[in-house]
């Protein structure tokens, strides 16, 4: 009894502070939304909210995969180029093989090919790290350049809009009033959340990222874990790239420029540590929503595009600083 009365006051005292520390990003996001509703004209309209969600979806699908990659201590810089290439592959299949597989058949085969390629490149990036000790930073930096080159080679440098009618539904259509990509986004969120939290694979991702040698000496196949998270992200990139191509109605080598930056930024804003071992899918969800709201809000408030870049840079740095400070006080 005396113990309870002893600890109770201090604990009660700490409750608001603890909540503040635990839900810092959630609180900041809420404040941002309230702020934007108040000052950004049209932010709260249904149309605009759905628009934000659609943009966020394309980013988030990849960011959930990227979270796993960063938690296990690696990085993928090639996702923007990968997304562009995936869109171009789908469009190219639509252009070349409609005669063989039929219009829809061709893009479906194209999508399958993009998915397989995305997975394989990611998987091999992981194995390169194992076989030749090439950091994923380097391999994916090379892919970042090369994949965009391939995308432009496939399309000949022009947008390739060889999609069957109705294909635009995937990226631009609505199902029950909600943009279709948002469903894929939600599905990816749930899937990745379960994978990271409720499977032995997910537990091993955290172990590998937290301490590679300890994980190896515990009998975990660390390279398999790394290769698969990278492969998974490659596949998710292909999904996102296809949705983007559908939305803009063409496969083009110039889409998704700089997307890797936004994806990594979202993961970091969500509290995932670049040193590995720490991070949550939920945090990344907050991160992408935060980025989506900020850029939409700035556009609505007529902030110049150049200033938007500056703000985004500041946010990335600020988020990292905030997480470091929070880590210290937690």
């Amino acid at each position: 009894m005396s113990l309870v009365s002893h600890t109770a006051p201090s604990r009660r005292h700490n409750v608001p502070l603890r909540l503040l520390k635990t839900y810092t990003m959630e609180i900041i996001l809420t404040l941002l939304v309230i702020f934007l509703i108040a000052v950004a004209p049209g932010f709260a309209s249904t149309g605009n909210i759905l628009n934000v969600l659609r943009t966020v979806a394309m980013l988030g699908i990849i960011a959930f995969g990227m979270t796993a990659v960063i938690v296990c201590g690696e990085i993928d810089l090639s996702v923007g180029a990968g997304a562009a290439l995936a869109g171009c592959i789908v469009a190219w299949f639509g252009d070349q093989f409609s005669g063989v597989f039929g219009e829809w058949g061709a893009v479906i085969v194209g999508f399958a090919a993009a998915l397989l390629l995305g997975f394989t490149l990611g998987y091999l990036t992981g194995r390169f790290r194992q076989w030749f000790n090439v950091p994923t930073f380097i391999t994916t930096l090379a892919l970042f350049a090369a994949l965009r080159g391939f995308a432009n080679l496939i399309t000949g440098g022009f947008p390739l809009s060889s999609f069957p009618s109705g294909f635009d539904f995937l990226g631009g259509g609505y199902l029950f009033g909600i943009p279709f990509p948002v469903y894929i986004f939600a599905l990816t969120f749930v899937g990745m959340h379960i994978l990271m939290k409720y499977t032995s694979f997910g537990r091993e991702v955290y172990a590998v990222g937290g301490n590679m040698e300890a994980a190896r000496l515990s009998g975990i196949d660390i390279w398999r874990i790394k290769a698969w998270t990278l492969g998974l992200t490659g596949a998710l990139t292909a999904v996102s790239g296809t949705l983007i191509a559908s939305q803009i109605g063409a496969g083009t080598g110039t889409t998704a420029t700089g997307m890797e930056l936004d994806v990594i930024a979202a993961v970091i804003i969500g509290g995932t540590s670049l040193f590995g071992g720490k991070g949550r899918i939920w945090g990344t969800l907050i991160g992408v929503l935060f980025l989506g709201c900020i850029s939409n809000g700035m556009t609505l408030m007529n902030v110049s595009e150049y200033w938007q870049y500056v703000v985004r840079g500041g946010i990335i740095l600020g988020a990292v600083l905030l997480n470091q400070v929070l880590d210290r006080v937690r």
Partner: protein, 514 residues
């Protein structure tokens, strides 16, 4: 900082070092108690003591890494307080640590003058005076009787030459007191001789040299006096000319009375060994190692640091490559398999450095306990806290892990409890063979006992274990049979009931029975 020329021309100033009642506490632990001794100039003072005796605390006090809790340190009668390594440095004390601190890509000369490269003015800019640097480095090297090109990169030198450069660098600060912490631990005989020549030269200059080593044989060659500490207490100082190795070992270990342990059971050697190792070699680490391990047996491996004990266990476990020889587990050849395969075959390994590679510090106690058995816990790949609960609870109860909330980070536990988590991680897999590498390192006395009791208990249940410890008395106490490794080879097999510490220590040192 400018480098003065006098470093090479003048004789080193003399430094008489006195400790008066120096005590160092870490919380409730007394690492060094009332240490009083004088180190006189122009002599080589060996400092001996087994691990945890307070030797490294003494080194830290002298190097200014930490300050004494009470007592005084005086140099030439003047009381000194070191708030940082820089202060110790300024007082003329230079420490050469066991680990080399040279930059391999830079030249010998640059390494010696790192952080204080000489400059000259050219066209109004201050640029590095390369010619001057190498001239001075050359002078310094030759003044110590060394024939070495100061322009060659350190990476081109042998380990012994690098150690020599380290000492030359230390001497370039013109210290009056030089502290050498196990300088020969990684050196070959020829290199050791070169190092000794250098130390003798410095002694002739009047430098006070404090020399820490584990090697009894070199003690008589290099040192003038030997000071022994044990359990933080000053035991005594002897003149090397009038003492014997046995006398020193007796001082180091005291009357190490054997603690009570369960009666040794005789291992049934007629059954099939669970682990058979034949002619195992990993070049540069160990060679031609053969032994059998039987169910329920605890096989100790004794040897000095660097004898190849850890390397042997890591290689058998598949963590490092093997160059030749075979490993059989339950009769099946397992040579060259991965830790994952070895784990599947029933082998477990608790590494010596649990903080770095035994545990994932960012994860919870619960996560660490389940880490090696996620396959068994999960149902078609899915895990949950509910499924993990019995695996966590069983080990916490069995091993008496004190952890409060198992979902808190494992880093919040004490060393002993962290070690138990590493053991528990493997016990969750019900291994048939366990390798315990330094399970008692950095663990308090009570937890140490508990860990030994766990090992004995599991052995009684049929678990075969390899047990490695730098503490020889622990090996004698815990193991049923002891192999001694020396320079990568198994040199002796001893029965712990038929030997004593002095004998075991001398085999570890010399590589053979005397």
């Amino acid at each position: 900082m400018t480098l003065s020329h006098r470093t090479t021309s003048e004789q080193g100033t003399q430094g008489r070092l006195d400790f008066r009642g120096v005590t160092k506490r870490y919380g409730p632990t007394v690492a060094l108690s009332e240490f009083t001794h004088s180190f006189t100039p122009g002599r080589v003072h060996a400092l001996m003591g087994k691990n945890g005796s307070g030797k490294s605390t003494l080194v830290k006090l002298l190097a200014g890494v930490t300050g004494p809790t009470s007592g005084t340190i005086t140099i030439n009668g003047e009381e000194r307080h070191f708030a940082s390594p820089h202060d110790a440095f300024a007082a003329g004390i230079v420490t050469v640590h066991q680990e080399l601190s040279l930059v391999p890509e830079l030249s010998v000369g640059e390494n010696i003058f790192l952080g204080r490269l000489p400059h000259r003015h050219k066209a109004g800019f201050s640029v590095v005076d390369w010619a001057g640097l190498h001239t001075r480095a050359g002078e310094l090297l030759s003044s110590m009787g060394l024939d070495m090109d100061s322009r060659q990169p350190v990476s081109a030198l042998s380990l012994g030459q690098q150690q020599v450069v380290e000492i030359v660098k230390a001497m370039s600060f013109n210290p009056s007191i030089l502290l050498l912490d196990e300088p020969t631990s990684a050196l070959a005989t020829r290199e050791v001789n070169q190092l000794f020549a250098l130390v003798h030269r410095l002694r002739a200059r009047g430098v006070t040299i404090i020399y820490i080593t584990h090697r009894m044989s070199e003690l008589f060659e290099i040192a003038d006096t030997c000071t022994v500490i044990r359990d933080g207490l000053y035991i005594g100082s002897v003149e090397m000319a009038t003492t014997t190795p046995t006398a020193i070992v007796d001082m180091m270990f005291g009357d190490a009375a054997h603690a009570t342990r369960p009666p040794r059971r005789t291992t049934d050697r007629t059954t099939k060994p669970v682990l058979e190792v034949r002619n195992l070699t990993r070049s540069g680490h160990f060679h031609d190692v053969s032994f059998d391990l039987y169910p329920g047996e605890i096989l100790g491996i004794a040897g000095l640091l660097g004898a190849g004990r850890t390397e042997l266990m890591r290689a058998i476990f598949g963590a490092d490559p093997i160059h030749s020889g075979t490993v059989r587990l339950d009769g099946v050849v397992m040579t060259g398999k991965s830790p994952r395969d070895m784990r599947k075959a029933g082998l477990g390994y608790t590494p010596e450095n649990r903080k770095e590679v035994g545990l994932v510090q960012s994860l919870s106690t619960a996560d660490n306990l389940c880490m090696a058995s996620l396959g068994a816990i999960s149902v078609s790949g899915f895990v949950s806290r509910r499924r993990e609960r019995p695996f966590i609870g069983r080990q916490i109860t069995d091993l008496h892990i004190k952890c409060g909330d198992p979902d808190m980070p494992v880093s919040s536990l004490s060393g002993g409890n962290q070690q138990k988590v590493v053991i528990g991680k493997w016990m969750n897999r019900h291994p048939s063979v366990m390798f315990f590498d330094e399970p008692s390192r950095g663990v308090d006395v009570q937890a140490k006992r508990q860990i030994f009791e766990i090992i004995w208990q599991k052995a009684a249940d049929g678990l075969a274990s390899l047990f490695v410890s730098t503490e020889l008395e622990e090996v004698l106490e815990v193991a049923d049979r002891v192999l001694v490794m020396h320079l990568g080879a198994v040199v002796a097999e001893v029965d712990p009931t038929r030997t004593n510490l002095t004998e075991l220590y001398s085999i570890c040192m010399e590589g053979a029975r005397q």
